[in-house]
């Protein structure tokens, strides 16, 4: 594999316009990636779903070359109806359009140069891969005291120009004091067995609010990996919602550092998986100072041969007294071949804390089905109603009512 990577890397350097300095830093990341390779099940974080094996099995030979020189056509039929929004459009790893037409232009700054180094400790070769092959990295800065009027939708799409290719994306966000951003990641893919590697960096200053909704609904055979690093200052709030349903493989990783007092993080996730899909959510919440709060709720509904995994870690520093941490994961297994794995982890060094986690998995309750059937529903309807209610619970946690309704419509949940 390493020869292929090196060739593809040289080809990208040749066809794109990078500065000398950029090329040097990319080379260092590439070297690191080649040394470590794709993560595999020997690494604790990849124990349940081995990306190395899955790439080999689903894609085979992965190409790392992307032609960044030619623009791609934007297909407006993919756009979300019935909700006015700002847009960033990614196609095949290229940013085709950034559109903040609903906003005050002075309040949003877009930079296309970022620090070459990654500011936090990580042991994740996919971030090295991302940094080595990424085309352009944009940083979006929201000014102090500004709340975006409309949500920002990032459209992630691939078209039939790329096949069995690794596509990398990266965006950095800085939310100024007392600002607010609603961000929706919307995936519309052509099925061509690509490996998409997304890396977001969020910096939340005092009193800012970030709401991030990831919607992967439409069936496709791409493999996806998304990593969110969130740094939070005093009194900031981050809310993440993940709908993990469309891709053949999707792993969402969230690393959240609660650096400021009274900051809080909320993560809610839904796995709705059918044949042969394998999805995972892995979270690390680091409570580093006093009076911080985190809440996580993850629910899975698993069909034939579907496999979901949840690894959640709450870390409480010895300084972080009065921490409130909560984790709950629940799964319904619909078929003999479905599988649910969980590793809810607590690492606590302070004594005045309230931390708990729970995990439950099993089949649909036959008694509940009987109850519904005795009131006139057929078996399929009863089952659907129960699943509907099971998932609705998570969607109801979304605090933005406009987006909550949009997501309910997309999933097809009834109230």
């Amino acid at each position: 594999m390493s020869e292929q990577i090196q060739l593809d890397f040289d080809k990208i350097i040749k066809t794109s316009k990078f500065s000398n300095e950029e090329i040097q830093s990319k080379k260092i990341f590439l070297k690191k990636f080649i040394e470590n390779g794709f993560p595999n099940r020997k690494q604790e974080d990849w124990k349940f779903l081995d990306i190395n094996q899955i790439i080999k099995k689903n894609i085979g030979d992965l190409s790392f070359f992307n032609d960044y020189s030619l623009p791609n056509k934007i297909d407006p039929s993919n756009f979300v109806d019935g909700l006015e929004h700002n847009k960033i459009i990614f196609i095949n790893g290229r940013i085709e359009k950034i559109d903040f037409s609903y906003e005050d232009q002075n309040k949003i700054e877009i930079k296309d140069e970022i620090e070459k180094n990654i500011s936090f400790d990580y042991q994740n070769s996919l971030i090295d891969l991302n940094s080595a092959f990424i085309n352009k990295v944009f940083k979006i800065i929201v000014s102090k005291n500004y709340s975006l009027k409309k949500p920002l939708i990032i459209y992630h799409s691939t078209n039939d120009k790329v096949k069995s290719t690794n596509v990398n994306l990266r965006l950095d966000f800085e939310l100024g004091e007392n600002s607010c951003l609603r961000l929706i990641d919307f995936f519309t893919d052509n099925t061509n067995k690509n490996f998409i590697n997304i890396f977001y960096n969020f910096n939340l200053l005092k009193d800012s609010i970030l709401k991030n909704y990831k919607i992967d609904k439409f069936k496709n055979d791409n493999l996806k990996y998304s990593f969110n690093n969130i740094e939070q200052k005093d009194n900031s709030v981050s809310e993440t919602f993940i709908l993990s349903a469309g891709s053949d493989y999707f792993k969402n990783e969230i690393n959240c550092n609660l650096n400021g007092e009274y900051s809080s993080a909320f993560i809610n996730g839904v796995f709705s998986l059918k044949e042969n899909q394998q999805h995972e959510i892995r979270t690390t919440i680091n409570h580093l100072v006093e009076n911080t709060k985190s809440y996580q709720l993850i629910k899975s509904v698993l069909g034939k041969n579907a496999k979901s995994a949840y690894q959640g870690k709450i870390f409480v520093n010895s300084k972080a007294q009065k921490t409130d941490g909560y984790q709950l994961s629940k799964a319904i297994l619909l078929d003999q071949t479905s599988e649910f794995n969980a590793k809810p982890e607590l690492e606590i060094y302070a004594d005045d804390v309230k931390c708990s986690h729970g995990s439950a998995s099993g089949s649909l309750n036959e008694e509940s089905i009987f109850y519904l059937m005795s009131r006139g529903l057929n078996y399929r309807q009863s089952k659907e109603l129960l699943i509907n209610g099971f998932l609705l619970d998570v969607v109801e946690k979304i605090t933005d009512s406009e987006i909550k309704n949009l997501i309910k419509n997309i999933i097809g949940l009834k109230e």
Binding site: E44, S318, Q321, A331, L333, L334, D335, Q336, T337, S338, E339, F340, N341, A342, K343, P344, E345, L346, E347, I348, Y349, A350, D351, D352, V353, K354, C355, S356, H357, G358, S359, A360, S361, G362, S363
Partner: protein
């Protein structure tokens, strides 16, 4: 001074910290073919046993020490250890208790297990293991009447080779992880129990382990086989003298329950934990595994872990037989600089299997405590269920409490429920108790005992009293 305070005064320092001046026979230092042959030879073992050891040793050479655990420790020099140490007077094994070295008997008296008296009064059959060798087994006559075999492992290898050959290494194979394999290569003694078909063992069986000699590792091996429809309750207690260097204890315990059999295994582990600065103490790296081989069988582990500098063990149940049940009740207490990484594994293979895990962890001082557990329901284990509850209690902000459960469900007919909480003793609870006349220490003792009650209830009576006291003593000085 009331009696409790007197108790504590008496026991404040590690009560079992004395050494006994007894001449020892030791194998040469280090780990190699010759040492293994020496051990096998001195125990007059048959060839198959030596082959078993050598096979494990060959395998050991290929293995690396695991390093995923939370408590890290300085590298152990395996070539600088004695793998065999036996009281000299044991060379010609005594026929009865009266022939025992009086010094040995005195040691056990200090430990609180006067073998002779115990034989008469308590009605508990005791097998005492001193350093590496089993020194005395009481109540032989009564047990033989029921056809129960309860003896040292070396004796079992001589007298019941068929049974040992049939079951030894079937639950913990020689090809297991590093410490288990090390034990398979150099184990020196331990207890062997066989309960014949349909027999309910009329008394509790008990083993007391003691490490005496310095620079020795203790590697005992226990094998308990409960044949169809039988029942046995087995107790294990451990102590060691105070020494500045760390000592290694790597035991293997195998339990096998056939159809309708039940084994209840209780441990009160109180190895020397090191002084308050974390110097010395025992490394307790033990492999305990039970196999519910037959239908409707049941294995239950109960442990009270208060000692050792580092405790690193996961008593496990493999639920192979249909309708089999696995249970795990644990209290782990760490104080000063102690570290523990303990928990259980419940592996569901048969249909309608059930498991229950109750774990209570208490950390104080500068200690670190981890619960690590696995619940794995395989795709064939239809209609199985697991319930896990692990609670941690923290005292002070210099210590840590961690929970790392692994949950794998591959069967849609099965249910897993897991709960964990971490908290501290609330001011209100303390206030309530103090208002009613208890001093702060007593109040904490009361609350902690309440916290542990679910587990303490599972212990046999004699042990429960001892364990309750231990809980109080272990937390001594951590309040306020």
């Amino acid at each position: 001074m009331d009696t409790r305070e007197k108790d504590i005064e008496k026991l404040k320092d590690y009560k079992y910290g004395f050494t006994t001046d007894i001449e020892n026979i030791k194998a040469p230092k280090g780990l190699n073919h010759d040492v293994i042959k020496f051990i096998s030879n001195i125990k007059k073992e048959p060839q198959w046993m030596l082959d078993f050891r050598l096979k494990a040793y060959e395998r050991l050479k290929l293995l690396k020490e695991p390093d995923w655990q939370k408590p890290k420790y300085p590298k152990i020099d395996y070539q600088n250890l004695y793998y065999y140490s036996a009281p000299k007077s044991m060379k010609d094994k005594p026929k009865s208790l009266d022939e025992l070295d009086p010094k040995l008997l005195e040691t056990y008296k200090k430990l609180g297990i006067p073998l002779q008296e115990q034989a008469r009064l308590n009605g508990i059959a005791v097998d005492a293991v001193f350093d590496s060798v089993s020194v005395a087994t009481t109540f032989k006559g009564e047990l033989t009447k029921h056809g129960i075999i309860f003896c040292s492992m070396s004796e079992a290898i001589q007298k019941h080779p068929d049974l040992v050959k049939k079951y030894l290494g079937t639950v913990i194979p020689v090809t297991d992880h590093f410490y288990a394999t090390l034990n398979s290569a150099v184990f020196t003694d331990g207890s062997f129990v066989y309960i014949p078909e349909g027999v309910k063992c009329p008394m509790e069986l008990s083993t007391y382990f003691r490490i005496n000699a310095s620079e020795t590792g203790q590697f005992e091996r226990t094998l308990i086989v409960a044949d169809k429809g039988s029942y046995v309750s087995y107790l294990e207690g451990c102590t060691a003298p105070m020494r500045d260097e760390n000592q290694l204890h790597a035991a293997n315990v195998e339990l096998i329950a056939l159809d309708d059999a039940e084994i209840k295994y209780s441990t009160v582990q109180n190895w020397y934990p090191g002084d308050e600065n974390g110097k010395g103490g025992i490394y307790n790296f033990v492999t305990k595994r039970g196999l519910c081989k037959g239908k409707n069988s049941k294995i239950s582990w109960t442990q009270v872990e208060t000692g050792s500098a580092i405790t690193w063990k996961y008593p496990s149940c493999i639920l192979k037989g249909d309708n089999s049940i696995g249970e795990f009740y644990s209290i782990a207490i760490t104080n000063n600089h102690q570290k523990a990484d303990t928990g259980t594994k419940m592996i569901h293979l048969g249909k309608n299997t059930k498991s229950k895990i109750i774990s209570k962890g208490i950390s104080a001082g500068f200690s670190d405590m981890t619960y690590r557990g696995l619940v794995d329901i395989s795709s064939k284990a239809k209609n199985s269920s697991n319930y896990t509850q692990c609670d941690s209690l923290l005292m002070g902000n210099k210590c840590g409490a961690h929970t790392v459960p692994y949950i794998k469900n591959k069967n849609f007919d099965s249910n897993i429920a897991h709960e964990a909480t971490t908290s501290k003793i609330s001011e209100e609870q303390l206030h309530y108790c103090q208002q009613r006349g208890l001093n702060p220490e007593e109040a904490v003792g009361l609350i902690v005992n309440g916290f542990c009650k679910e587990v303490l209830q599972q212990l046999p009576m004699e042990f429960a009293v001892e364990a309750q006291k231990l809980v109080g003593i272990s937390l001594e000085g951590s309040v306020g």
